[in-house]
């Protein structure tokens, strides 16, 4: 198995595994609410063993924020990507299989979403509907499903003329039944290669929204930590550097793993 995994893929997978472990173990690594004010404000990193990464301007533990922020980032990233891919598969399959006006209509909608600046849309959504985790996930999903939809549709179009589809039709299966049971499994494979990118983009969008102040106020978010630190950039640059680096590491590991997965799929398909 591992021989198709590049060095990058292995490193990415290892880092991602660590991040997932941190996210799961957050309550033990940093007990209590990470939003609590627990120490003197603006303690630099590595000066107090209780706060290994220092404290922010309100005296909140940066380490606790980082650890608990891992949960939010990964959770939002995965949930949004899952939702986006789900919607994309649904739309792509229906459009590709039914064809005709349905296809035309759905593709216009897909096009609409690809034409408008989707980050603006996400921004408008979260700002207008309120900053809760659910709204953030929805906004990211709504703005990132079209790529999957187009890919699935293209795959479906190329698959639906194959023999086994005709066979199923002769056997009297309904059109959508054929689409979802017979054709879709074949079309979904290339979508897996998109997962890495989609999750990575979702994490980035989440952090950008949080940076603009649009994240659930009851939870720590890396982007929100950067926004907080921005005002004291000169006095305490670590408040910006640390959470920003965390975002970069998370996105990098996810895209490395996604890349490796994509390459494996490519290899197995070519066989």
């Amino acid at each position: 198995m591992m021989r198709h995994w590049s060095i990058g893929g292995v490193i990415g997978a290892a880092v991602l595994a660590v991040l997932v472990l941190v996210a799961i173990a957050a309550p033990w690594l940093a007990p209590g609410d990470p939003l609590d004010i627990v120490g003197r404000p603006l303690l630099p990193p590595f000066t107090d063993p209780r706060f290994p990464l220092g404290t922010d301007q309100l005296g909140r533990n940066v380490f606790a924020g980082l650890v608990h922020g891992t949960r939010v980032s990964l959770l939002v990233g995965l949930a949004a990507a899952a939702a986006a891919i789900g919607v994309g598969i649904l739309v792509g399959t229906v459009a590709g299989f039914l064809g005709g006006w349905t296809d035309e209509g759905l593709m216009r909608v897909t096009e609409a979403f690809q034409t408008i600046p989707t980050f603006l849309l996400a921004l408008a959504m979260v700002s207008a509907l309120g900053a809760s985790t659910v709204n953030v996930v929805l906004a990211i999903a709504i703005s990132s499903w079209p790529a999957t939809a187009r890919l699935v549709r293209a795959e479906i179009l190329s698959l639906k003329s194959r023999d086994y589809v005709d066979a199923a039709r002769l056997a009297g299966m309904s059109r959508l039944g054929i689409a979802f049971r017979e054709v879709l499994p074949g079309a979904v494979q290339p979508v897996l290669a998109l997962i890495g990118i989609t999750v990575g983009v979702a994490i980035l969008v989440e952090s950008s929204l949080a940076f603009l102040g649009l994240s659930d106020p009851n939870q720590v978010s890396w982007g929100g930590m950067v926004a907080n630190g921005r005002a004291v950039l000169r006095t305490a640059p670590y408040l910006v550097a640390i959470p920003g680096a965390a975002v970069a590491v998370a996105v990098l590991s996810v895209s490395l793993v996604g890349d490796a997965m994509g390459r494996r799929l490519l290899v197995s398909r070519e066989r």
Partner: protein
């Protein structure tokens, strides 16, 4: 020339349903939101009694029923009369035109920067496949791609604007503008160096990867093998037979990325305090300024369509074999 016009007409026709869908979505979204433009106004100005709020709502046409407001909204879209921004107290078109040049300039420069540098690095990586240079470029692009643009921006400000003082802290121009036109241009360019670099770097990775894989593919093609066999000069093979066909997917990606880049400019504009469309959109949403949001979205969509049009035209130039199919399938 006729072909170009056909392209333009088709693009614009395609845009109509897109714009319609987007506009209706925005209207629905703001209906769902708590608070309207009057609430936003009262939040800024500090209070008022219900009679005053009622009068404002009447004046701003917010007291009518859902359908009346919706029809008025659609009418303003159809007639391209974006109307009056109650919150900015100026026509929407003026509010947008004040900001549009800044964003267009930044976006255009960022697109050019990311695509040029991206294809160049991607091409180098492909030609040096398997070497340290290749690995360095590939990894570097991946890392840049993973870093949030606001973060790169803040770090760039600390390093280049504060510590080294090479570039200004933000803004689009010095308030005491140089008298000469050339001086003004240089002034704006100087202000744009950091934001354009940051925005461009965030999107460069895509082009590096695309160009690299496309070049590797063309390098293995029969064409190139034949050209090599004929003993054509290496540089010419690279330029004519490898780079040129490899540019096609890159150009397509340019169009696909235009919308994302415009979205990404919101964050970069915020970090660098550039008065552009992105920050205007952010204000418009928080102020519940429906006509302004609709106007910005329309203009944003039109900008994306224009970029795509340019892409189509470029594509046709690069690849004479292109048929109308590409136009149809290429999407927006």
């Amino acid at each position: 020339m006729g072909r170009t016009w056909t392209l333009i007409r088709r693009r614009l026709l395609q845009a109509i349903p897109v714009i319609l869908i987007v506009s209706i979505g925005i209207f629905g979204l703001l209906e769902l939101a708590g608070g309207d433009a009057v609430d936003a106004y009262l939040a800024v100005t500090g209070g008022g009694d219900p009679a005053f709020a009622e009068r404002l709502r009447q004046q701003w046409g917010l007291d009518a029923g859902l359908w009346v407001r919706f029809l008025a909204y659609v009418e303003s879209l159809v007639t391209l009369d974006f109307g009056w921004s109650v919150v900015m107290s100026k026509p929407v078109s003026v509010a947008i035109l004040e900001r549009l040049p800044n964003t267009a300039l930044m976006m255009g420069a960022a697109i050019a920067f990311s695509a040029c540098l991206g294809t160049l690095l991607g091409g180098i990586a492909a030609l040096r496949k398997g070497t340290a240079a290749d690995a360095g470029i590939t990894v570097g692009a991946l890392v840049l791609n993973a870093m949030p643009s606001f973060w790169i921006g803040l770090i760039a400000i600390v390093v280049f604007a504060v510590k080294l003082a090479w570039f200004p802290l933000g803004g689009i121009a010095s308030f005491d503008r140089p008298d000469l036109a050339i001086g003004r241009v240089l002034d704006v360019a100087w202000h744009l160096v950091l934001p354009v670099t940051v925005l461009g770097l965030a999107y460069m990775a895509l082009y590096v990867r695309l160009m690299r894989s496309a070049m590797i593919e063309t390098a293995a093609s029969d064409w190139v093998r034949a050209a090599r066999a004929r003993g054509l000069p290496r540089l010419r093979i690279v330029r004519r037979h490898m780079a040129r066909p490899a540019l096609l997917p890159v150009v397509t990606m340019l169009g696909l990325q235009a919308g994302n880049l415009l979205g990404g400019s919101v964050v970069v504009e915020t970090v660098f305090a550039i008065p552009g469309l992105g920050s205007l959109a952010y204000d418009a949403v928080s102020q519940r300024d429906l006509p302004l949001i609709a106007g910005i979205l329309l203009v944003g969509t039109l900008m994306v369509i224009v970029v795509n049009l340019l892409v189509d035209i470029t594509y046709a130039r690069l690849d004479p074999r292109v048929t109308d199919d590409r136009v149809r399938a290429g999407g927006a």
